[in-house]
């Protein structure tokens, strides 16, 4: 196991952001592919939210049919190259592999990467657009759900326009997941695959500002809202506006734009939260050269929402964890820069509405951490204003949909991805968003085809 010193360079920060997992060598890939039993009615397929025919794509790797393999993957999951890297495979396909008890599960994620990397490297266009059927669909948001919906609609013959607020599409895969786990060019290849089907991706277009929700609804036969979630909400404590307090989403996003910041070298960083983004912010901090990175979480290891592999990765990067610790105040110096983080120790009480035990402060347990930066990663806000601009029913920013058709309260508007995540709806995984996008596309197709049939 590599120590943090070997893993991290303070001289060459760029090298810290190169993909950590080297992937399987050609020989290892063949050996691993041949180890797959090619189960019938395989549990890995059922465990994959997008239902990738995993034994099929693995068999194709073994037979040297890498194009076919990539096609099987991408057919089921339009962001299958990203998912090969970011899926919590041990909780999904690999967790369901029948070899778990008999020997060790097949490295499905890594094999998926072998096939998709081949397609990327060999510049393969895997799918063709359908013949134009005269219908136009707008997709708002070019993340995994939006891309997935657009891809399927384009294959079915729809003219699709994606409205993307950022300068590049791909959403979380392009900007939200750290480069050393998911290099940006992987996500951009997936975007390109969709564009090559004739999908028009209009970047830097903010709905509500550059174009109205009404214009979009009026100008298309159907609209799919796939805007995901927003930035990190306010902590609601003193000192949040000090210099050196960061929003984890923006912080990670910055490492995926031009150049890496150098002002973290040698610094002490506190990350508040213990979810996927919190881990990303913490490991990014380490890789930006921070001398000490602590994650501050008010509950315990057992309640953290980050995946086990993320937790392990953070520990390998040397991230420290302060469980049962709640920040109460950020203290600045005379220049308005973060100096300290005041916290209070917590203990777990009775379970709350999320089923997790509610943390309660321990009286007189205040402590102060000496820090140079505080990164907030306590969740994400909702695009409530945008949702309301479309006039959709929602519950605290979670769009209400028909579970079967993904249709919102507006008959022409559908929703998929993180914008419908929460309140018991789905999982906030890239792979789930991809599947919802696909299903939404089919629902739209069904609806628009049915209406044609009815009017005929």
């Amino acid at each position: 196991m590599q120590s943090q010193q070997q893993r991290i360079s303070t001289d060459n920060l760029e090298s810290n952001f190169r993909e950590v997992n080297p992937g399987l060598s050609p020989k290892a890939a063949i050996e691993e592919a041949n180890r797959c039993l090619y189960c019938y009615d395989a549990p890995c397929i059922k465990a994959c939210p997008t239902g990738i025919n995993i034994p099929s794509f693995i068999k194709k790797i073994a037979s040297g049919n890498l194009k076919g393999s990539a096609r099987v993957i991408m057919e089921a999951n339009p962001v299958g190259a990203s998912c090969a890297r970011v899926c919590p495979t041990e909780e999904l396909c690999e967790g369901a592999c029948v070899l778990n008890d008999a020997s060790t599960p097949i490295m499905i994620g890594d094999l998926q990467r072998v096939a998709t990397d081949w397609a990327i490297h060999n510049q393969q266009q895997l799918f063709q657009p359908g013949e134009y059927n005269g219908k136009n669909v707008a997709v708002v948001g070019g993340g995994p759900a939006g891309l997935s919906a657009a891809r399927e609609l384009a294959r079915l013959g729809y003219k699709v326009t994606i409205f993307e607020a950022k300068e590049k599409a791909g959403g979380l895969d392009t900007f939200g997941i750290v480069s050393f786990r998911l290099p940006q060019d992987i996500s951009l290849w997936e975007v390109e695959q969709v564009e090559q089907l004739g999908v028009n991706i209009r970047t830097r277009v903010q709905v509500g500002k550059d174009i109205s929700a009404e214009d979009i609804v009026d100008g298309h036969d159907a609209v799919i809202l796939a805007v995901g979630m927003g930035n990190v909400p306010m902590l609601g404590i003193e000192g949040e506006d000090l210099q050196g307090v960061y929003d984890a989403i923006e912080f990670v996003e910055e490492t995926k734009r031009n150049g890496l910041r150098t002002d973290f070298v040698g610094k002490k960083v506190a990350v508040i939260g213990a979810g996927n983004t919190a881990i990303d912010a913490a490991t990014c901090s380490v890789r930006l050269g921070a001398a000490n990175v602590q994650m501050v979480y008010r509950r315990t290891e057992a309640e953290m929402t980050a995946y086990d592999f993320e937790y392990e990765f953070a520990k390998l990067d040397g991230v420290e964890f302060r469980w049962l610790t709640q920040p109460t105040r950020i203290i600045g110096d005379e220049h308005g820069r973060v100096k300290q983080l005041e916290c209070v120790r917590m203990q777990l009480g009775e379970p709350d509405e999320s089923g997790r035990r509610r943390p309660l402060p321990v009286e007189g347990s205040e402590l102060t951490l000496e820090v140079d930066a505080v990164i907030k990663a306590i969740g994400q806000t909702r695009h409530t204003a945008l949702i309301e601009a479309f006039g959709l029913d929602h519950e605290k920013g979670v769009v209400r949909i028909d579970q079967d058709t993904f249709q919102t309260s507006h008959p022409k508007v559908y929703a998929a991805g993180d914008v419908i995540f929460g309140r018991g709806q789905g999982e906030a995984m890239v792979v789930t968003a991809a599947e919802q996008g696909k299903q939404t596309a089919y629902a739209v197709h069904q609806q628009l085809t049915d209406s044609v049939t009815e009017s005929a």
Partner: protein
Amino acid sequence: MADLSINLAGIKSPNPFWLASAPPTNSGYQVQRAFEAGWGGAVWKTLGDPILNVSSRFAGLDFNGQKVFGFNNIELITDRPLEVNLKEIYETKKKFPDHAIIASLMVEPKREAWHEIVKRVEDVGVDGLELNFGCPHGMSERGMGSASGQVPELVEAQTMWAKEVAQTPVIIKLTPNITDITATAYAAVQGGADAISMINTINSLMGVDLDTWNTIPHVGGKGAHGGYCGPAVKPIALNMVAECARHPDIHVPISGIGGISTWQDAVEYMLMGATGVQVCTAAMHHGFSIVEDMIDGLNNYLDDKGIPSAMEIVGKSVDRFTDWGNLDLNYHIVARINNDVCINCNKCHIACEDASHQCIDMLTDENGVDYLQVREEDCVGCNLCSIVCPVDGAIDMVEVPSQEAPLSWNERQAAVQKLSENRKIVS
């Protein structure tokens, strides 16, 4: 420690593991290294009139990522002068007097030619001779090797010519490229052979390159059939050994050859009638050191079974190998799945469903747990499910006690015959 030594028609060796006549026994240097590694004997690469070889000679067959499942070659007999080989045989035998050196020979099917080579080779002190009537490529186009070995009369005549002058035991190496190997084996016995060895390699074309469309291997864009060997040929060779072993008129010892890679393979050959075995591909794949586990494994096997000598297992399974017509029609086995061992890959289900008798059901119990179950009344006991099952112990093939007395097809037909004759008498 069991006694591993063998005596094959008078040829003694410290263990049953010989290197077959092939590239690993091309020179004194190699054979001496082999003896140092523990090989009990070596059949020297075939001597005869030196030939010219081509370049690009071998090819391997990979299977599911595993190398050398099968192997083929278009190399001919020795390309070194006879004198050089004879000198090295002499030196090797002097250094390793207890190890068996057998000279493989191939000359034109002429009496004088056989007389001459047998005498010259025996002069340097070999323990035995093996007449190569098996090489299927190149030499066969010149009327030697398998071209001789496919004609029983030629086998018999040449064996006789060699025996006319031979002082040491003569082994006849047979080709599998023939419909019924017992015909040539019998001819060898008729010619006075002291032993037979089998199989030589099988005619083969290893493959075609998908990009160049050349044969594999190719010699400057052209290919010719080669001789196939390696683990993939073992069942074919074992059958031929067994057929000869159970043949009432083929009563000479057998040296078993074909796909032997482990001590287990060797035990199977010996149980089926081979007095010893010859190995080539495994040594070509891994080097001479593989004999260490062959010796160790055989010794442990014999010790575990309480058998004092390797020779005692020779032929012990021969009487269990018979014609299909003698098999008991009333013997019945069925598959039984052990759900606590089963990993639910469903391979047995789909194999049975698509390729056998549709009697393995995929079910779900009251707790929602998936399990597989055999409908035993529909199971014909074909074994397919247990063959494809990846986990040892998940599927047992279990004998179902029969209500009927054992009855073979032959017995049944005899009974039917008798019955109809009785009827004729009655009517």
